[in-house]
């Protein structure tokens, strides 16, 4: 088991190194920030001074070397746009996105597990058809459109909630709701499918014959065995949350990592792009290892040799 975790960590480390190379060179391919940060009529000396101050006068490989040297000391460099350490900006924005994604994912999981399990108790029944249709519709909604329509209905029309910005709890409701809908729809379908096959297995028949309560059979016996595919899909959805976060944070003006990254790409703020991608990837790697450990915990038959 520990050997497996070591292998996984090693694989993650290799991928991380590939990612660092990729993000460094890709970011620099997007263009020279000098033109963006200086006025068009800036004299050549000013341009040269700007390039020199930010290290852009060095050959690309030398820049990469400096970047790696600093990275080992956890120095991600300074943001060009905001003139602050890039890692500070990223770590400041990260919790907002994490709370946003975490809340959305938790709600999605709970709703999907309850609705999917109840639907699976009676396949093709009224409740099952209803849950299935709602889940399908939810999984098919483009989140930017859902965001616009919900702003239209709840903020512009009914005036119950604010359109965008930050503040109290009411500012969180629409973004969380928009982020929840698609994972919830997808997960409900997975839960339903896994539960239908779990409920038709022999141990469920045995439990039923012994007179175990139906609720216990569904939510204890069957659910535990249906958990593996649910966790796989939930993990994929959780690591995909950053995509949803970009869109939702742009529309609702949320100061999270998605908006920070989008703006940094627009402003060729290399240090922040690099720090953001590396921190996000580290979180995704960590999540994947936790998911693998959860497999082993849930199903003792899985021994990672």
């Amino acid at each position: 088991m520990s050997g497996y975790v070591t292998t996984r960590m090693l694989h993650s480390a290799i991928s991380m190194m590939g990612l660092i190379v990729l993000v460094f060179f890709l970011a620099r391919l997007t263009g020279n920030p000098t033109d963006l940060y200086l006025p068009i009529d800036a004299p050549a000396e000013v341009r040269a001074a700007f390039a020199k101050a930010n290290g852009f006068d060095q050959p690309l490989l030398a820049q990469f070397q400096t970047f790696l040297g600093n990275l080992v000391q956890f120095d991600f460099g300074n943001s060009l746009r905001l003139e602050r350490p890039a890692v500070d900006l990223v770590l400041q924005a990260f919790p907002t996105s994490l709370i946003l994604a975490g809340t959305a994912m938790t709600i999605a999981l709970v709703v999907a597990v309850v609705a999917g399990s109840l639907a699976a108790r009676n396949p093709n029944g009224v409740l099952d058809r209803f849950v299935n249709m709602i889940a399908l519709a939810g999984a098919s909604l483009p989140n930017f459109w859902l965001a616009l329509v919900s702003v239209l209905v709840f903020a512009v029309g009914l005036r119950w909630l604010p359109t965008s910005g930050t503040g109290g709890l009411s500012y969180w409701i629409l973004p969380v709701m928009v982020l929840t809908v698609r994972p919830c729809g997808l997960l409900a379908q997975v839960v339903r499918g896994a539960m239908i096959s779990a409920l038709s297995s022999a141990y469920v028949k045995t439990a039923r014959a012994k007179g175990v309560k139906k609720r216990v059979i569904v939510f204890v016996h069957a659910l535990r065995n249906a958990m593996l595919p649910i966790i796989t899909v939930a993990g994929d959805q959780a690591s995909g949350m950053i995509n949803g976060a970009v869109v939702v944070e742009m529309i609702f003006g949320f100061p999270g990592i998605g908006r920070l990254m989008m703006e940094s790409i627009q402003y060729r703020d290399f240090a922040v792009i690099q720090a953001g991608v590396i921190v996000t990837a580290a979180a995704i790697f960590l999540l994947n290892i936790v998911i693998d450990l959860a497999y082993a915990l849930l199903d003792p038959r899985i021994k990672h040799a």
Partner: protein, 310 residues
């Protein structure tokens, strides 16, 4: 209909024909799936003939109809869904925009399906260092948030039709790769593959003649679901202004354009978004139905699949 496609392949032909008849029956019985297929045929028709039929109507600026509200036929049936800020008919633009939307998603799905499954076959069949390299590359792609990767690449490459397809395809390759590899790993240990190997079949022959047909149904189901997903991704990119550029447009770009008129003319953003939703939903319904329709043949796959795969 499709059953009359007589293939010279001996053996399973009658069973296949029966399966087709059975699935057509299933399709008719499942009214939602039937409606989904009808809607998709409608979208396909719009994608093929829309620009030819309504091309001029979709770009004609009509200042009298500026932000004309929907559900009124005063200006003619073309304006039944309203008009945008330049007085262009939204219905015509949705029908014409179907072509770009479907073309981008379709090309991206086919490209990532081909590349991903090819790499998956290699990684699954040759379980050595090549497999390791391919899997690590896939890991890198999967840990890079796909929308951010797409944004950076599109800033590098400028958002043209081909580049948008490339970006969408690249980010979706790992899905096919991992699924194909998982399936191949399992199938290559099964008796018929071992038998073929013992009889001296070359690896390429085994993969093409024995492994590929077994994996294809799974890949087709995934590709159907992916079509919906890629269409939603493309819409997000267009919405963020990184999709294909004006005067070309897709449904996602139409929603983006309507965003600024949300308070005064909701219909500009609403209808194209509804078109995206309905198409994605029809594709999901179809994929679901395909899965159920093929279930008796596929059941072993669900039962023998180890959870660590895919």
């Amino acid at each position: 209909m499709t059953m009359t496609l007589s293939s010279p392949a001996p053996g399973p032909a009658p069973a296949e024909a029966a399966a087709w008849r059975q699935s057509l029956g299933l399709l008719w019985r499942d009214k939602f799936a039937f409606a989904a297929v009808l809607f998709l045929i409608l979208v396909a028709f719009a994608a093929c003939f829309g620009p030819w039929l309504l091309g001029p109507a979709a770009t004609k600026i009509n200042l009298l109809a500026r932000n004309a509200p929907p559900m009124s036929t005063q200006l003619g049936w073309l304006y039944v869904l309203g008009a945008d800020s330049l007085g262009r008919s939204i219905l015509a633009r949705i029908i014409v925009g179907a072509q770009n939307t479907m073309m981008l998603a379709g090309c991206a799905v086919v490209a990532s399906l081909l590349i991903g499954s090819l790499l998956g076959f290699v990684a699954g069949y040759r379980n050595d260092w090549t497999s390791g390299v391919i899997l690590r590359l896939a890991d890198i792609l999967m840990s890079f948030p796909s929308l951010l990767l797409a944004m950076i690449v599109l800033y590098v490459l400028t958002p043209g039709v081909a580049n948008v397809i490339v970006v969408l395809a690249i980010t979706r390759i790992p899905i096919y790769l991992r699924t194909t590899r998982a399936e191949v790993l399992e199938i290559r240990e099964r008796t018929f593959v071992v038998a073929a190997r013992v009889m001296g079949a070359s690896p390429w022959r085994i993969v093409w003649k024995h492994v590929r047909p077994t994996v294809t149904p799974t890949l087709v189901t995934i590709a159907t679901l992916e079509f919906a997903f890629v269409m939603l991704s493309e819409s997000s990119l267009s919405f963020l202004g990184l999709g294909i550029q004006a005067p070309e447009f897709t449904w996602g770009a139409m929603v983006a354009q309507g965003q600024s008129y949300l308070g005064t003319a909701w219909w500009v953003a609403f209808w194209p978004g509804l078109a995206i939703t309905l198409t994605a939903m029809s594709l999901n319904l179809l994929a679901n139905w395909v899965r159920i329709a093929t279930d008796p043949v596929q059941r072993w796959r669900l039962e023998t699949r180890s959870p660590t795969h895919g």
